[in-house]
């Protein structure tokens, strides 16, 4: 029986579709084949340690006491949540993050605005501002520790010239936290400065010129044009610095070791002491798990806010 012309056309189309479907499947398989090794490595280096952390936090593991790897359920968390020291560490972290991130953004933005020019001299100055960021944090901490030790402190000496007796910076609960905030801000404001400066230099000229032609003052241009256009960069810098602020460690370790008392002891330092100084690995893991949950929640919150606020179109 001879095929009609229409039947032949339908057969051709179906064959093509089959070929295409087969090709799509092959392509998908290839993608999976390429992605699986990377996903496996990612799983091993991120998910497995996290699962190990969660598992350990449910035990009383203490390597200095053989035979302590015993499942104790949520006991570590119960003890932890009843501790004033733990809640104090959260409060220290909140204050530390708030002040360091705010100051880094404000100073970084201010200097980025001042340096937003293509003058050769300003480019040189810009390089100088980057120095604190490229120094190892331990070096920064030692520099600031020396600056704040009363008998040799140039800060106290400068104050004494003005007739003011400087406090014993690192042993006063308020000034010790202040000293760490200063050191942390000094080291990391160049990061926000660089990000915002890059955004400023990418900014379109037209809206600025239009505003100036319309008679807007510099403050009005800054407030109504520059800052709204910088918002995405500011939020990204905020996100980076906020997440990084939770990791603040070397400055605290060198300058105050969490003291006086526990006035400068944030949660990560508390976890470190428990896990590594006292070998309470199970208990330390429970603190780390809480830090992980809080950081994840904070990141998700910020990403959602950023999603709402930033119009990438």
């Amino acid at each position: 029986m001879a095929e009609t012309r229409v039947e032949r056309q339908v057969a051709r189309t179906l064959a093509k579709r089959g070929e295409r479907a087969g090709w799509t499947r092959q392509r998908e398989r290839l993608y999976v084949a390429y992605a699986v090794p990377a996903l496996l490595i990612l799983f091993v280096v991120t998910i497995v340690p996290t699962l190990f952390l969660l598992g350990t936090s449910l035990t009383n593991l203490n390597p200095s006491m053989p035979g302590t790897l015993r499942f104790i359920g949520l006991q570590n968390y119960q003890v932890l949540l009843q501790q004033d020291r733990f809640w104090n560490s959260i409060w220290v972290q909140v204050r530390l993050s708030f002040w360091t991130v705010s100051l880094q953004l404000l100073i970084g933005l201010g200097i980025a605005l001042l340096l937003n020019s293509r003058l050769r001299f300003l480019e040189l100055i810009r390089s100088l501002f980057i120095i604190p960021m490229v120094l190892p944090p331990v070096v920064v901490a030692i520099i600031w520790k020396v600056l704040f030790v009363p008998n040799i402190s140039p800060v106290s000496w400068a104050l004494s010239l003005a007739g003011i007796q400087g406090p014993a910076w690192l042993v006063h609960p308020f000034w010790a936290l202040f000293a760490i905030i200063v050191a942390e801000t000094w080291e990391w404001f160049p990061f926000t400065m660089l990000m915002l400066l890059a955004a400023l230099q990418m900014m379109p000229e037209e809206p600025l010129e239009a505003a100036k032609i319309d008679g807007a003052s510099s403050v009005q241009v800054l407030w109504h044009i520059v800052l709204p256009l910088l918002k995405p960069a500011i939020i990204v810098a905020l996100l980076f610095r906020l997440i990084d602020s939770v990791k603040a460690f070397p400055h605290i370790y060198i300058m105050t070791a969490g003291g006086p008392g526990v006035a400068t002891e944030p949660t990560n330092f508390y976890a470190y002491l428990q896990a590594f100084t006292f070998s309470l690995v199970g208990f330390g893991s429970s603190i780390s798990t809480i830090i992980l949950i809080l950081t994840l929640a904070l990141s998700l919150l910020i990403v959602r806010i950023v999603g709402r606020m930033v119009d990438y179109e």
């Binding site: 200095s64 053989p66 014993a168 042993v171 105050t256 006086p260 526990v262 100084t277």
Partner: protein, 468 residues
């Protein structure tokens, strides 16, 4: 080509058989020696570990710095190459704790720190040195005279007959004072009691020179107990049998108030954040008139290269309190971590570093006064050299060691002490920074230490809890 060369140079031809015979004859002595070598004691061989390398971790102390200078002596004597890391006390302990817990054996010799002795030995992280001591192949009979170590210095590292470390220092607390300032102010003698000490500090204290200097950070759990015990306070009821904390008793409150007064009100501003080297630098600059601390810390003032007060200081026994004279002692030793597979080279180093000869040298040439060997402390040369500002240092140390030998120091070698000591530092800095009153800080300390000892599996004896 080769044949031509041989012919031209007239090299005598040697048959293959002759060559083999000659080689066999030449190898015979070497072969014999290699068979005989294992039969000879390692100690008897001149350099049984020649060519080996070892790593040593030790705390940064006047003794360790001196030892590093004379390392070439050891290296040429044994052929062992030594990498010696001098670490800050806290850094060493933290690294050592991690290293030991991992079971790694890449550090051959390590400090066995007094306050960690209970924990590290209890966890089987340290090598029992007794088999090495008793093995004539490893140790000559006259090589380590264990009985020469002061009993209080070696007992923290012994468990029954087993010895886990050989001590290199027996720290004793002392009072160091500026004799020139005392004279200038008309103060006839060093204080005998802590009240007197506070009075003298008050008299001297000025903007330029503080009445007293107390080391801060982790040094606080070493200095504060001098006052605590002298006032009748205690850390635990009867350690290790009864670990009930006693930290908020009325005696403890009284001692702490006196300590805070002399350390904060008449102390160097900011000293609660000072490490031992910070404190040494400040005292050496002449900024304080008195200091109660370990002799190893104080003796930095006798280093002419660094100190401006070498000829102005003198020493005395630490003052007493209402409960009597209760100075503190601490010894540190050298140990071989359990994870080290070949313990021979490390053992050679320990024998050398803690020998009478080297410890005497460290004392006489480097002012390492706190030597743990009785033979050095009673040496007439030592006595002659270290009668400082009229104070016979050897005699002072012996008095402190005798007093502290009464048994109240056991609180420091229990497994839980590092954690408790760290919590003490928090309480003391809360007091000095006026975040809490003495009573409240000690109540909180007591509460937390109860938690720590319970977490470690101890029972609290309710009847032993202090009542104020």
């Amino acid at each position: 080509m080769s044949r031509t060369l041989t012919r031209n140079r007239r090299i005598p031809s040697v048959s293959r058989r002759t060559l083999l015979k000659g080689a066999a004859l030449a190898a015979l002595p070497a072969l014999g020696a290699s068979f005989l070598a294992p039969c000879r004691p390692a100690a008897a061989q001149a350099k049984p570990y020649a060519g080996r390398s070892i790593t040593v971790w030790i705390t940064n102390h006047i003794y360790a710095r001196g030892l590093r200078e004379i390392l070439p002596e050891f290296e040429s004597k044994t052929g062992i190459k030594v990498t010696m890391d001098l670490l800050n006390f806290d850094v060493h302990n933290q690294r050592a704790d991690l290293q030991l817990s991992s079971g790694a054996g890449n550090v051959d010799v390590m400090n066995l720190t007094f306050i960690f002795a209970g924990r590290w030995i209890g966890a089987n992280w340290c090598t029992d040195l007794t088999p090495l001591l008793n093995d004539p192949k490893m140790t000559r009979p006259d090589e380590v005279d264990v009985k020469d170590f002061i009993a209080g210095a070696i007992s923290p590292f012994s468990r029954g007959e087993k010895i886990f470390g050989l001590p290199w220092v027996a720290e004793t607390t002392m009072l160091m004072y500026r004799a020139d300032i005392f004279k200038e102010k008309g103060i006839a003698s060093p204080p005998k009691t802590y009240e007197e000490m506070t009075e003298i500090a008050k008299r001297i204290h000025s903007k330029d020179v503080a009445g007293n200097l107390s080391r801060g950070t982790n040094g606080l759990h070493w200095t504060w107990p001098n006052w605590l015990y002298a006032y009748g306070g205690k850390v635990f009821a009867n350690p290790p049998a009864d670990m009930t904390p006693q930290l908020n008793s009325k005696e403890s409150v009284a001692g702490t108030k006196q300590f805070d007064l002399v350390s904060t009100d008449y102390g160097v501003p900011g000293s609660m954040a000072f490490t031992d080297s910070d404190a040494q630098a400040i005292f050496n600059q002449g900024r304080a008139a008195m200091m109660v601390d370990a002799l190893g810390v104080l003796s930095a003032a006798l280093d002419r290269k660094q100190s401006q007060v070498v000829d102005k200081v003198s020493f005395a026994l630490p003052p007493a309190g209402p409960a009597g004279f209760k100075p503190q002692i601490a010894a540190h030793a050298l140990q071989i971590p359990a994870g080290v597979k070949d313990k021979g080279p490390g053992w050679e180093f320990i024998k050398w570093a803690t020998s009478k000869e080297i410890l005497r040298k460290a004392a006489m040439e480097k002012s390492h006064l706190a030597v743990p060997r009785a033979s050095v402390l009673s040496d007439s040369e030592y006595k002659k050299q270290f009668t400082w500002g009229g104070a016979d240092m050897g005699a002072l140390q012996t008095k402190v060691l005798d007093a502290a030998g009464a048994g109240y120091m056991t609180y420091r070698t229990v497994r839980e002490f590092p954690q408790v000591g760290s919590r003490m530092v928090i309480a003391l800095t809360e007091i000095s920074s006026r975040q809490k009153s003495v009573e409240r800080a000690l109540d909180d300390l007591q509460k937390d230490v109860i938690g720590i000892v319970q977490q470690a599996g101890h029972k609290i004896n309710e009847s032993e809890l202090p009542k104020r």
